[in-house]
């Protein structure tokens, strides 16, 4: 269904732009290009160490569930999104600041997701001609999302990790 992909792309682009606006230094280098530090794991190479939280200090999105409510005139689609992130702290402090780094990522994510409005005009991304960049068109429908739920932080060796969950909604076409 087209709307599912529109919702995924729109939420990612919105979150990416809001995180970049909140902290321009939150970046990741993928395939030789510096990007804002928000990555959708299903769109990257399986072996590129972006599965889950392999790269630190980056928000990794994973689409986990899809529910279609077909009772209304238009089906309401609910997409489950899992955002995983981790930090080792900074090497200069031997990682002693990893708690503060994780707290900073918590704050950036909450601010980006909770920023009013909690919706965005859905984006239709179309493939570019050879050598060009993709075309983005706003379709006139909206993608909207609920409040974010942060799971308890966990430790894996010296790395602190957290998973956040959010539901993203759109109407099917």
């Amino acid at each position: 269904m087209l709307s599912v992909q529109l919702a995924k792309d729109t939420f990612y682009a919105t979150l990416r732009d809001r995180v970049a606006a909140g902290n321009a230094a939150r970046t990741v280098v993928l395939r030789g290009v510096v990007r804002p530090g928000v990555v959708v794991t299903e769109n990257e190479f399986p072996g590129a160490a972006v599965d889950g939280i392999s790269p630190s200090d980056v928000f990794c999105l994973r689409w986990t569930s899809l529910v279609a409510d077909t009772q209304g005139a238009m089906p309401l689609l609910t997409l489950g999104c899992e955002i995983r992130y981790a930090t080792d702290g900074t090497s200069g402090t031997s990682g002693l600041d990893r708690g503060r780094m994780l707290a900073a990522m918590d704050a950036e994510l909450i601010a980006a997701v909770s920023m009013v409005p909690q919706r965005a005009g859905s984006l239709l991304v179309t493939e570019a001609a050879a050598g060009g960049t993709s075309t983005i068109v706003t379709t006139g429908t909206n993608v909207f999302w609920g409040d974010i739920s942060l799971k308890p932080a966990t430790m894996k060796n010296e790395r602190m990790e957290r998973t956040a969950e959010i539901e993203v909604f759109c109407y099917g076409q």
């Binding site: 995924k8 792309d9 990612y12 682009a13 990416r16 993928l30 395939r31 030789g32 290009v33 510096v34 990007r35 959708v40 299903e42 769109n43 190479f45 399986p46 072996g47 590129a48 984006l123 991304v125 179309t126 493939e127 570019a128 960049t133 993709s134 983005i136």
Partner: protein, 140 residues
């Protein structure tokens, strides 16, 4: 690189078969292109020929259907050849080259790179050992 160890390694690889394989490397991403970031546009790939190399199975094929698939084959690569490719293709180091490579093509089969280890003598790398497994898309 210590020339003696490198020559011995290259001679060993040639005597064990000395084949050539292809490193499957994506072109750099287009900066700021949303289409690539959302998986719509896929990058172009280039295949870099590299050898001498020795390819061998290290696990039976039945293991590749396990949920967490480990490397099922191993590739020994000449450090001399890797150094030449690094220099000619503009990568900063062999680590960066292998980190960017999405797969190795052996006899037309696409194999994912699971691990890379370097073998050194006197601080110089003379051999690379790559752990490989069949690409998931090729298993069905």
């Amino acid at each position: 690189m210590s020339a003696a160890q490198a020559r011995v390694a290259d001679a060993m690889l040639r005597s064990l078969g000395g084949r050539t394989v292809l490193l499957h490397i994506p072109a750099p991403a287009v900066a700021g292109d949303l289409g690539e970031q959302v998986g719509l546009a896929t990058p172009l790939f280039q295949d870099l020929s590299i050898g001498p190399a020795v390819f061998r199975k290290i696990r039976p094929w039945v293991a590749i259907h396990a949920k967490e698939r480990a490397a099922d084959s191993e590739l020994l690569l000449s450090a001399t050849a890797v150094t030449q490719v690094v220099g000619s293709s503009g990568y900063r180091s062999a680590d960066v080259l292998f980190a960017n490579a999405s797969a190795v093509v052996v006899d037309g089969a696409m194999l994912e790179i699971m691990s890379v280890a370097s073998v050194e003598a006197f601080g110089s790398v003379y051999l690379y050992r790559l752990g490989l497994r069949a690409a998931a898309a090729d298993l069905t």
